[in-house]
């Protein structure tokens, strides 16, 4: 896990206050209700949430495309706000033409236009496709074209709906790099909706979690990832090791929560002995204890399965009445030695255990 970037105080490029959107009729009615949301220049806000939570609707509302929203609920700067759709439209014509249309009628000279188009295409590494018919481009190439088209506007706010959809791992990685560079170079404010949690975590400066049309948590990346307000949010942000239990004892600033027979989890959260609480541990923080002293031991488990995608191995662990998962680097040490059925000890650092009292 990379270290989080130092938070920089940025100017607000777009601010939504009391944003309400109504869609559909009767039983299929959907309401989006966002009390407050800021987009800051040079910052990437990733919007997470389950299907149907209203993420795309939120992007459209921020882009000013939702007619039911009160226009005053969105305050923007003077610059362009543009949205790149999940399925970007390929206009009839060459890739270059597709980028050019974004600049029509905006008072630029032909020389200016050509210049900006060339730079936009190069920025996303598709200059060699300039004369190709846009409708014949592959999915990945079309995504790049859509981004080039968006950036050629020199937008102040960029909204991205599933920009990594349909790309393979390498394509995603490359696009992610190019996008990151473009964001840094242009200082654009970005809000991105994506299902790919890993990709999101790499790019996010801030995270907002949307559920059933409501903004349930937003904040700097680490804060949302490490300290989700509810178990539902925890699952959404990838904190998959969740359990309920009772606070049984305390050692100095560390509280111990007993979550089942033989399993006790240490946490630095402020709890009360005797109360019920739930705990959450991100998979990358749950350790298999090999005696290196990395974290406090919490109990025993059996290896259920190991699944590798070449980069990381997800190890599913079974205890008597629950399952946990952890991540290991593929192909090295532990990942190579572990087999299904092995008995292991689990450990975790108290600062990595998120806990909340249950009322």
């Amino acid at each position: 896990m990379t270290t989080p970037p130092t938070p920089r105080p940025h100017r607000i490029a777009l601010a939504a206050k009391g944003l309400r959107v109504q869609r559909g009729q009767g039983s299929s009615r959907f309401t989006l209700d966002v009390a407050a949301l800021d987009l800051r220049a040079g910052e990437v806000l990733v919007i997470l949430g389950p299907n149907g939570a209203g993420k795309s609707t939120l992007l459209r509302a921020l882009a000013g495309l939702e007619s039911s929203a009160d226009p005053h609920s969105i305050q923007g700067g003077s610059g362009p706000v543009t949205l790149v759709f999940q399925r970007p439209a390929a206009f009839a014509g060459s890739a270059q033409h597709n980028v050019r249309v974004a600049l029509l009628g905006k008072g630029l000279t032909e020389a200016d236009r050509s210049d900006r188009i060339a730079r936009a295409l190069t920025r996303f590494d598709i200059a060699h496709l300039a004369d190709q018919e846009a409708r014949t481009l592959s999915g990945g190439e079309m995504r790049r074209l859509a981004l080039a088209r968006a950036f050629v506007l020199e937008p102040e706010v960029l909204l991205l709906d599933e920009p990594f959809d349909d790309l393979d791992a390498e394509g995603q990685r490359q696009l992610s790099l190019d996008l990151q560079r473009a964001i840094t170079e242009t200082d654009v404010a970005v809000a991105m909706v994506t299902h790919d949690l890993r990709r999101a975590l790499l790019l996010a400066d801030r995270i907002a979690v949307l559920m059933r049309g409501k903004l349930v948590q937003q904040g700097p990346r680490e804060e949302v990832l490490q300290r989700p307000n509810s178990r539902e949010i925890a699952r959404t942000v990838g904190m998959t090791n969740l359990a309920e239990g009772r606070v049984v004892r305390r050692e100095e600033e560390i509280y111990w929560v007993e979550i089942s027979d033989g399993l006790e989890v240490p946490t630095r959260a402020k709890l009360e002995i005797g109360r019920d609480a739930w705990i959450g541990i991100r998979p990358e923080h749950l350790k298999i204890d090999i005696g290196r002293g990395d974290g406090r031991p919490i109990g025993k488990a059996e290896v259920e399965s190991l699944v590798s995608d070449g980069l990381a191995t997800v190890v599913t662990l079974r205890t008597r009445d629950r399952m946990f998962s952890t991540h290991l680097l593929s192909g090295r040490g532990l990942a190579r030695r572990l087999r299904s059925g092995d008995a292991v000890s689990l450990a975790v650092r108290p600062e990595h255990v998120h806990a909340r009292l249950i009322d």
Binding site: R60, A63, L65, P80, T82, L83, F85, R87, P88, A89, F91, A92, G93, V101, A102, L104, G105, K106, E133, R149, A150, L153
Partner: protein, 219 residues
């Protein structure tokens, strides 16, 4: 065929091109904007309007001709305009026949666009006039189909042209009405010759349009 007859054939051919061309251009000028306007958005009563357009597409041209000849006649509502047995009257009748076709096909072309198309264009901050241009470019092939269909309908039309035009020598005689007349008179060779010219014209124009269509595809 002697010289006088040849000149007559040329005159009839040019008149056919003028009347049909004027009707085609008018039908496109009216039908395409309406088709685009209807195709794009949802509004109350849309299905009613679309059904009417579809009915219009299927309306027999001779019925349109009958309606027009009644309207344009002396005792009809538009009698004072002197449209009966005139080229203008024929152009109006042929335009009325072609407009539903043009609207219907344009509607379908616009409808085949992705639902979000308009939103995607708007989000690029493109001004209205350029959005229209982009739309037309996008449905170019569909529009071409509308042109070809309308042209076919207009060039081959004989019933309305006869009723509204009257096949008057030197004034409203066109290839189709002339072919019918020659056939009725028993001059099958002459009729055949005129038919060949009409077919030739149709092939020529259709061929030109197809060439445009194909070149659009490879670009």
């Amino acid at each position: 065929m002697n010289e006088a007859e040849a000149r007559l054939v040329v005159e009839i051919t040019f008149r056919t091109l003028w009347v049909c061309g004027a009707a085609l251009v008018t039908a496109l000028a009216i039908g395409i904007p309406i088709g685009i306007a209807l195709g794009g958005r949802r509004f109350a009563g849309r299905s009613l309007v679309v059904s009417t357009v579809n009915a219009g597409m299927g309306a027999p041209p001779v019925v349109v001709g009958l309606g027009c000849s009644i309207l344009f006649s002396r005792s009809g509502l538009l009698g004072g305009l002197g449209l009966i047995y005139s080229q203008t009257g024929m152009i109006i009748a042929q335009t009325l026949i072609a407009v539903p076709l043009v609207i219907g096909i344009t509607l379908a072309a616009v409808g085949s666009l992705d639902e979000e198309w308009d939103l995607q264009v708007r989000t690029l901050g493109i001004r209205r006039i350029f959005r229209l241009w982009l739309l037309v470019r996008q449905i170019r092939m569909g529009l071409l189909a509308a042109v070809i269909a309308a042209l076919g309908g207009i060039l081959s039309e004989v019933g309305a042209s006869s009723m509204v035009g009257g096949n008057l020598l030197g004034k409203t005689r066109v290839l189709t009405t002339a072919i019918m007349m020659e056939t009725n008179m028993g001059n099958f060779e002459r009729a055949g010759g005129l038919a060949l010219i009409l077919i030739g014209l149709t092939f020529l124009i259709a061929g030109l349009l197809t060439a445009v269509q194909q070149s659009g595809r490879t670009r």
